[in-house]
Structures are given as structure tokens and as C-alpha cells.
């Protein structure tokens, strides 16, 4: 079967790739574009380790077909830092030890960023429910939740 030609934007950069119709976006990101920061933990949309945004919408890239990227704007963990400046969430995750093994971290960061873009003043419960689609087996979530709440407070403070 002929491959499909896809034109898309990934982390601000115009990107083209060829894919098979049944390939997932995650597979293309990881295996063809070298963007291995998105992780495959389950392949069924249950763990959130492959979280990216498509046109601002938070998705599990393992549940998105690669051809759906046509004409879309995709953000991955590789685009989160601004040059050599880490995003406040990235900095805070390190500072607060909000990661242990780190495999779930890209997904949590993408989901947390998406939350704060929509809701700059979330409650603990709102953070917990927003991140309920991301599994972490190491931390018990405590330091992740604390880090997100801390960053939200700091970002509100600096926006004043």
C-alpha cells in the first residue's frame, strides 16, 4: 500500500512525513521523527505517557492515527523548554523531586501545562482529576500535585 504524505507542524517546525494509514502518531513521532520523549506505556490510552497536544487539545498520541496530524499543530515534550530555558513546570518538577524514574514525566508535564493554560488557579482536587489520566507508579503523585500547585501560584504571582 502506498504511504500517505502528511504535512504538519511539530513544536513550531514545519514537518513532513510518510506513514501507513494504520500507524499511530506516537509511532511516527518516536520511530520516524526521533521524538522519543513521548513514551509508550500501554498503547491503549490508559497511562498518558505518550501525551501530546494537537491544536491545543490534550491527547494520547497512541490513540491518534498519524494521518490525523495533517494540517495540525502538534506540541510534544521536546518543545516545552524555550531554548535552553526550562518551562517553570520542568524546573519545579526537578526542584520538588516530582519524578523518580522519569518515564511518566513527559506526559505529566504536557498534561500539567495544558491544565495551567486553561485554569491558572486550580484547586488540588482539580489538579488531581485533570492528571487522573496519567499513571505514575513511583511517586504516589504527592510531589507532582504539589509541584503543579506551586507553579500555578508562581505564575499567577508573576502575571500580577
Amino acid at each position: 500500500m502506498a504511504k500517505i504524505h502528511i504535512t504538519t507542524t511539530i513544536n513550531g517546525a514545519p514537518t513532513e512525513f510518510l506513514c501507513e494509514p494504520q500507524q499511530t502518531l506516537l509511532d511516527v513521532l518516536r520511530d520516524q521523527l526521533g521524538l522519543t520523549g513521548s513514551k509508550e506505556g500501554c498503547g491503549s490510552g490508559d497511562c498518558g505517557a505518550c501525551t501530546v497536544t494537537i491544536d491545543g487539545r490534550l491527547v494520547c498520541s497512541c490513540l491518534v492515527l498519524a494521518p490525523e496530524a495533517e494540517g495540525a499543530k502538534i506540541e510534544t515534550i521536546e518543545g516545552m523548554a524555550d531554548g535552553d530555558t526550562l518551562h517553570p513546570l520542568q524546573k519545579k518538577f526537578i526542584e520538588m523531586a516530582a519524578l523518580q524514574c522519569g518515564i511518566c514525566t513527559p506526559g505529566f508535564l504536557m498534561a500539567s501545562k495544558s491544565l495551567l493554560e486553561r485554569n491558572p488557579n486550580p484547586t488540588e482536587t482539580e489538579v488531581r482529576y485533570w492528571l487522573a489520566g496519567n499513571l505514575c507508579r513511583c511517586t504516589g503523585y504527592d510531589k507532582i500535585i504539589t509541584a503543579v500547585l506551586d507553579v500555578a501560584a508562581e505564575m499567577r504571582e508573576s502575571a500580577r
Partner: protein, 763 residues
Amino acid sequence: MNAPSTTGKYKWIGTRPDRPDGADKVTGRARFGADFNLPGQLIGKVLRSPHAHALIKSIDISKAEALPGVKAVVIAKDFPEQPNLIVPTGEMQVNLRDVTRNVMAREKALYEGHPVAAVAALSETIAKQALALIKVDYKVLPHVIDVAEAMKPDAPLLHDHLLTEGANPPATKPSNIAKRIEFTKGDSKAGFAKAEIVIERDYTTQAVHQGYIEPHAALASASEDGQVQVWSTTQGHFQVRGFCSRLLNIDTSQIRVTPTEIGGGFGGKTVVYLEPLAIRLSQKAGKPVKMTMTREEVFRASGPAPGGNVKVKIGATKDGRIVAAECTVEMQAGAFPGSPVGPSCMCSFACYDIDNMYIVGFDVVSNRPKVAAYRAPGAPISAWAVESTIDILAQRLNMDPIELRLKNAAKKGTKTAYGVTFNTIGMVETLEAIKNSDHYKTPVKPGFARGVAAGFWFNIGADSSAASHVGEDGSVTVISGNPDIGGSRASLALMAAEELGVDYDKVRPVIADTASIGFNFVTGGSRVTFATGLAVVNSVRDLIRELKVRAAKIWKVDPDGVIWENGMAKPAGANVGTFEPLSIADLAAQAGRTGGPINGHAQLNVTGAGPGFGVHCVDLAVDRDTGIVTVGRYTAAQDVGTAIHPSYVEGQLQGGAVQGIGWALNEEYIYNSKGLLQNAGFLDYRMPVASDLPMIETILVEVPNPSHPYGVRGVGEVPIVPPTAAVGNAIARATGVRMVDLPMSPPRLSEALDAATPRMAAE
């Protein structure tokens, strides 16, 4: 978060700097198992048994081999037979004869998911097509899943040769009981005769998976000259090397294993599954072979931790002194012998000072995947039973559960059932930490109930190597060989900086492959910060010795006349002479004239691991209509020795507690009548998510381990031991219904509540 008592005692230890691998792990740059690729690599896939128990009459791989794009197919005959030889793997032991059969089934498929063949092809699509072309002629055999069923004399036999080790009288007929063990202290019968209250209960637990988010992955490249390279996500790359060397008859020196970043393990990545297959496929195909498991494969064919049946009997006097205790543990080993029933028995009553104990354990095979270590292997299973029974005792005596435990707590000089007499331990201090906590002092909220439970784990030392190298500019690389599974680079760098008297960011910790550092035992047993930490400290001391020799050469004095202070060589006294102190950078700059490179090394078999104790306290509410439990407040206190990087110590307590909450409330392997796993995915195997939980408060009780220069105790495993019983005890107090079977999931709990209604006070 409490401030550790060591704050101020040290410059670096007890501080919370950024981890050295932090930036890589928040940017997606860190490379985990599945992130490694080689030019020209093939994709390997495994064909797995669809049956719980079946004779493999024949395997026809000819059509698969003929499929264009298929480069190699392997089955059992591609792996040499192995001797009946037991080797250690972290806290568990395995038999090589069984290991080779677990990585590739030989005579029989012993569980659903058991590998029967593997292929390497140009793409995953072709590899999957090839699997479908392999014809396996099975004769399906009767299977057995449940431990109690497997122990019956007429149960389907997994292994015709298996005679119960330790049986009395000696076993003459094969059975599924691989081993019987017992531990005795004093005379339990005489102890029970003195008891005024005796409580006896039967408990069960189900198999649970470690649930690491990263599936197993391995990349192997075998060269024509016999050399092999492997990249693997593992808790022990030396263990991978050792197993592959044995299973494939390759010298260890010919196999070089590089550990990738590891996405969780919890004990489940201390064994091999894919690596021997990937090497053999690579040898046959002449190309690198990459293999990754799907989540479904992880559930069906790796891990899990066993379930077990536990009978507990505890006798006490009316004042709350436990005078006798007995325990019987029947534990799932999976398809091959080797459950953690030994540690389960040994840990059962280890929190307590009891004169009379009798503990029996059975290691039982059944048609389940071979169990692997999971955080304090075996201990949570006996603790669930023992700590629930002690709570019943507290209720009967109308005693505070912490007071009852304090009355019986193990302390320095307490002799355990397994013969060891404790040195300095922190059980009493940990109980008191909960007793004095804000949580325990705060009245329980209306609608909630409180439970507490304790837990114990030995922790281990074992073999570690480390090296410290001074660079040309005086910065230092510290090299060790244990994969960093939760911040150990930071703890090792902190100890090296403390010892050397330099800044934390002048030390770069590196995890070397098997060819680049001496042997290191697995990242397991809560050993890395303790044992590999000691090797790092010793390597730095060796480095300091060398630095002093170099300073002595420059000053033309005796090395004994040089001391090392705050990262500088200084004259020991005025009699040595007057010299400006020399920094590491000064000494590095002159290294070429004083003897060349400046390095330190250490290799140790570390003993003296300090055991750890944890006490957890939970407030929860039960919805009587649905059986749903809401955890409202949770505090974990633990004797942690010295918290080197307190944030990561807290993280161990929090993560372990939450895994234990999952074990208590949701997680279980569910089988159908054909012996097939029904919930091999994260949707149906329900691990805790963020919205299920409150913050997990931690109390770090620092009772330094006298056998370590900085007082380190292992901390990673203890936290999973108390939660199940803490939760069960709270449920019993909330509802009046004492649960004895795990998990206390909504359907089970609502059923138990319905059965108990209208009787409200069970105990």
C-alpha cells in the same frame, strides 16, 4: 515533610539539590529502554502460549522462516539445556534449569503468555505475520491457578520431577509444593497455654503486578567474532550479563550490557525475559535485534508478585503482651519454584519481641507467570495477615493499636524468629513518631475511621564497585554500576561531595556499563544508597589517599604529613612545614609531574544493612452502598537511617504507600475457568490514579545505621508493607466488618457489607 535531624550536621547530606539527571528527564532527552535503536536493526516478537497448561508436541517454523523479511526464528532447541542450579537474583533465587524454560518453553507451556517461539524481521508488521505462521501442536492439559487447589494431592502436576524440599517425612511423590520451610523460636504451644486471649484468622491475597510504566525492552547486537552488546532496561545489567552468559554459553567478558534509563522496576526488572531471545535472534540473523513488550505481554508474562493464603494465630495476656504467635504462609511461585515465601515468613512477626513463635511456609507452583520480586518481596502478604490480627487483638483488649504495638515492639537485642538478633533499630521510635504526629493527635473526622499498621524489611548490602576519577580541571566523575531508579545518582553524588569536601555540582555521577566498572549486584533490596553508597565513599577515600600522596610529592614531605580538609590538601601541622593548601584543581594541574592520572577505586561485599521499620496511619470513609473507599488522610513514618536526599526518601515512602493502597483496594490478577488472565491492561488492572488519593504525609525517623559511615539504611521497600493492613484495619473500624481477603475492592467490600448487615459490630 519534617526536617531531618541531620540538617546542619553535614554540608551536603540531608540537603535537597536538583538531581543530576533532572534536566534530561523533564525534556524527553533521557533515553529509556525502547528509545535505543541501531542502524539495520530488526524487530523481534514473541509467540506466546494461549493455554494455561499444555504439552508442546511439535513446533513448525518453516512457513515463518520462509516469509520474506523474516531473518531469524528461535525456539527452545536454540538454547542449551541448563543444570539444576540455584542462583541469586536480588532478594529471590532462581534455578537456571527453570530460567531457560521461562524465557522459552521446552516440554510444556506452563502459563498463558509463556514464550514458545520468537522471530526477528525487517518490521514489526512482518514479525507479527511470521508469528501467525508458526504452527504449534499443543495437547492442552488440566491446569491449576489457585494455591490451595494446587496443593491438593490430585491437583494437575506442573513438574513431574518436583519433590517437596524440606518435607518431613521426605517427599517420595512429585507435587506442586516445591518447598516447605519453618522457623521456630521458643515453644509456641507452651506460649499459647499462657495466653488469656487467642485470635486466629485465615487471610488471602491475590497476585499483583509491580506496574512499572515502562514495558520491558532490549536491544542486542551480536558480532561474527562472538562479541555481544546489549542495551536493556533493567535493575541489574550485571545480572543480565550473568544470565545471558549462562543461558547462551558466552563468556561474561564477551557480553557488554549498557543499562538504559529505567522506567520503574520495583523488583520486576531483576530477571531476564527478552535479552537472551534478542541475543540469540541477533546471532542467527547477523543483525541487531530490538524487542519490546506490549503492556499486555507485561501483565501476562512478567512479574507479578505472588498472592498467598496466610493463617495467623496470636496469643496474648490481658495486659496486651503477646506471648505466642504462629503463622502459615502458602504462596504462589508461579510456574516455577521460587516464591518469596522465605522472607514472607521471616518478616511476619519481625516487628515484635515475641518469645514463642512457629512459622511455616510453602512454596507452591501453579499455572501462572513465574513471580518476580516486588518491593519487600513476600512481606506485605504476611503483614496483611499479622497486622490485621494484631488490630483485632487491640479491639478485643480495648487498647490503642499503637500502645499495643509499643508494648510488644522489637528493639535492640530482640531475637527474631529467623535467628538474627537486632542491633540498633527504630521500631519504637517509628511507633512514637505516629503516636506524636499531628495526624494521630487530630480527632478522626465524622464519617471516617482510622487504621494503623506496621511493617518490616531486612534491606541488603551485597557486591558493589565504584571509581572516582579526577579530571584535568579538578572536577570529579564518580562511576558506579547500579541503574538509577529513583534518584540514586543524587544520593551518591551527595555522599561523594560530603566526603571529598567539594561542591555537589563538582561531582558528576555516572552509571557505567558492565565493561566499564567492576561488578555491581542489582538495584534491589534497598541497597544502592547503602551499599553502592559505601563503595562510592570508599572510592573517594582511596582518591583522597592518592591526592595526599600527590601533595606530599609536591611539598617533598611524607604523605602522613598531609591531611585532607574542605576539599584541600593541607600540612598536618607546623612541623611538616608551611605550605599553601592545594585544591583538587591544583593537584590535577600538576598530576603529570606527580604520577599521572588521579583515581580512586573500591570494591566491596557490603554487610551490615540496617533493617527498616514503618508505621502507617490512614483515615478513610466507606460508602456502604457501593463499597468504594475514600482515603482522606495518610501518614507514613519510617526509620530511614540517615536521609541523604530527603525529597527522594519521602518519595520512596509516598510511592510505596500508594502501591500498597492499590494492593489493598483494587489490584488483583483475575483468571477465568480456563486459566486465562482476564485483566491484562491498565484499564482493568486498576492502579491508583491521582484523583484516588490525598497527599501522603511522611515522617522520616532518623535512627542511623551503625554499619554505615553516614548511617544509611535502605528505605525503598518497607513502605509497601504496612498499607494493606492499615487500610483493612480502618475499614474494620469504619464498618464493623473485618475483611480477610484482598483486594478490598468495591464489589468484594459491598458484598461483605451486605452479608454482615444488619450485624454491625463483627469484632
